[in-house]
């Protein structure tokens, strides 16, 4: 009898999982279940060029849809379908239609959804940016002269603020605790990019605690529109459009009741096998897996390169487990990421959040527009490099140093002892 693997999640992670299962030799049935009605598409343009000029939803999809490997043409896609429950010990899933589906192997690829601010008030004019529809709808409101407030200055917040400014909007970027992208880039580069964004016309508001939303008629919530934001210190910021970019929440509720750790994404081992199961793996940013490279325990990584990297490891492990074969040695992903904001091309490799020390390797963090390279050290080991405006061959040079966990200085003491 033909066995089946079901992939829950119809986005990039789901597609990569299907392709990697085929690449690893799985010739039997694969079904992908996804809540969105589109086949998988590339999300990074949604805050950048696609937001600037999406066309219709159909045109936008054409511009960003992923090509599929020929090996996955026989995969069954069940789109617009939500898995609402799972009984992992009995290998069954429950769909939103009430239908029950059984599987031999399961891939969890449900990803993230945007976190929302727990603020009552108007619904109109409030946006998040995750799906194609989000981008198309937001684009329609980003008309020249519109006052826009972006809450949260992570990568998506900063990119969205830049795109809205390019569209001719008057943009205020608000951040609660720190500078833009500070958690990822560190204080110095964050400050340099903040100054650059301000030069480009973005109004930056740090240490902003959002207390509430203002509306043109607070008495009728459904029909009123946003007119602004009120901060905890009483400051009012006028805005017709409010964009919430305050992080993401893993989509794991459907896995509740299975005695697995879903406290922050799905806890996996280094093979991406879900801890406490025998035939379940997770891929992409919903997977929390041990960082063998840096020895810092299990964590989720929300970078574009991770779905592909984790799918490759997980597919081999799942097939080995289903066939009762020995597990291959797992690869150890090296994350990479990028962000375009106005003319800044920011490129990163490794895990800068692990840094205990950050140094300027080239240029100055104060003037990122002139090019800068920052090194992120965990004690003596280089664990990440973030550069702005650096040619790709130089990025590859730094990538190799990060991959080797290169030490800034040779360990003199050790050498002396060896002599």
């Amino acid at each position: 009898m033909t066995r089946s693997i079901v992939i829950v999640g119809g986005s990039m992670g789901g597609l990569r999982a299907a392709e990697q299962l085929r690449a690893a030799g799985w010739a039997e049935s694969i079904t992908v279940i996804g809540t969105e009605t589109h086949l998988p598409y590339n999300r990074p343009p949604l805050s950048k060029e696609l937001l600037e000029n999406p066309g219709t939803t159909a045109e936008a999809f054409e511009a960003v849809k992923f090509r599929h490997r020929p090996s996955v043409t026989d995969v069954e896609w069940r789109l617009g379908t939500e898995v609402v429950g799972a009984d992992l010990p009995n290998n069954t899933l429950t769909l939103d239609s009430g239908e029950t589906l059984t599987y031999d192997g399961l891939v969890i690829a449900t990803g993230l959804r945007p976190r929302r601010l727990p603020l009552p008030g108007p619904l109109r004019g409030r946006h998040v940016l995750r799906t194609l529809e989000d981008a198309v709808e937001l684009h329609q409101e980003l008309r020249p002269g519109t006052e826009v407030a972006v809450i949260g200055a992570g990568f998506i917040g900063c990119e969205t603020a830049a795109t809205a400014t390019k569209r001719g909007c008057s943009v205020t970027l608000l951040e609660g605790t720190s500078g833009p992208m500070q958690r990822a880039l560190g204080e110095e580069l964050s400050a340099g990019i903040r100054d650059y964004l301000v030069q480009q016309g973005v109004t930056y508001h740090g240490h902003a605690k959002v207390a509430g939303l203002l509306s043109n008629d607070a008495t009728i919530e459904d029909e009123s529109s946003c007119t602004g934001i009120i901060l905890a210190d009483g400051t009012e910021i006028t805005a017709d459009v409010i964009i919430e970019s305050v992080g993401s929440i893993p989509n794991v509720e459907w896995l509740e009741g299975n005695d697995i750790d879903i406290s922050n994404g799905v806890l996996c081992d280094e093979h991406l096998r879900v801890v406490g199961t025998r035939n379940v793996v997770a891929v992409g940013d919903v997977a929390r897996f041990p960082d063998l490279r840096n020895g810092c325990g299990a964590r989720r990584i929300e970078h574009w390169s991770i779905p592909g990297d984790t799918a490759k490891i997980a597919a081999k492990a799942l097939i080995a487990d289903l066939n009762g074969a020995a597990l291959p040695e797992p690869a150890v992903p090296l994350p990479s990421f990028w962000s375009n904001q106005f003319d800044l091309k920011i490129q990163g490799v490794g895990s800068p959040t692990l840094a205990t020390r950050i140094v300027e390797l080239e240029g100055s963090a104060k003037t990122p527009h002139d090019g800068v390279v920052m090194g992120y050290y965990q004690d003596d080991a280089l664990v990440a490099v973030v550069s702005v405006g650096l040619p790709a061959d130089r990025q590859l040079h730094y990538r190799k140093l990060v991959n080797d966990r290169h030490s800034e200085q040779p360990q003199q003491d050790t050498q002396l002892q060896a002599i």
Binding site: N42, P391, A392, D393, R399
Partner: protein, 64 residues
Amino acid sequence: MKIFVDRQLCENHGQCAIAAPQVFRMNSEGILEYEENVNDSLLPDVEDAMDACPVQAIFIQDQS
């Protein structure tokens, strides 16, 4: 197989040069150079490079 990179799409991210260094490399100006005719045995690496390309600029021309 024959490889084609759409230069209109390519932003010289350099991810392909990591995935398939026998086929793709970044020159000293940071611009992509690549082999157009590639042995079929390199297909897995080329597929990895296609996956890793943030802008999906890499195509295999004679792939069915």
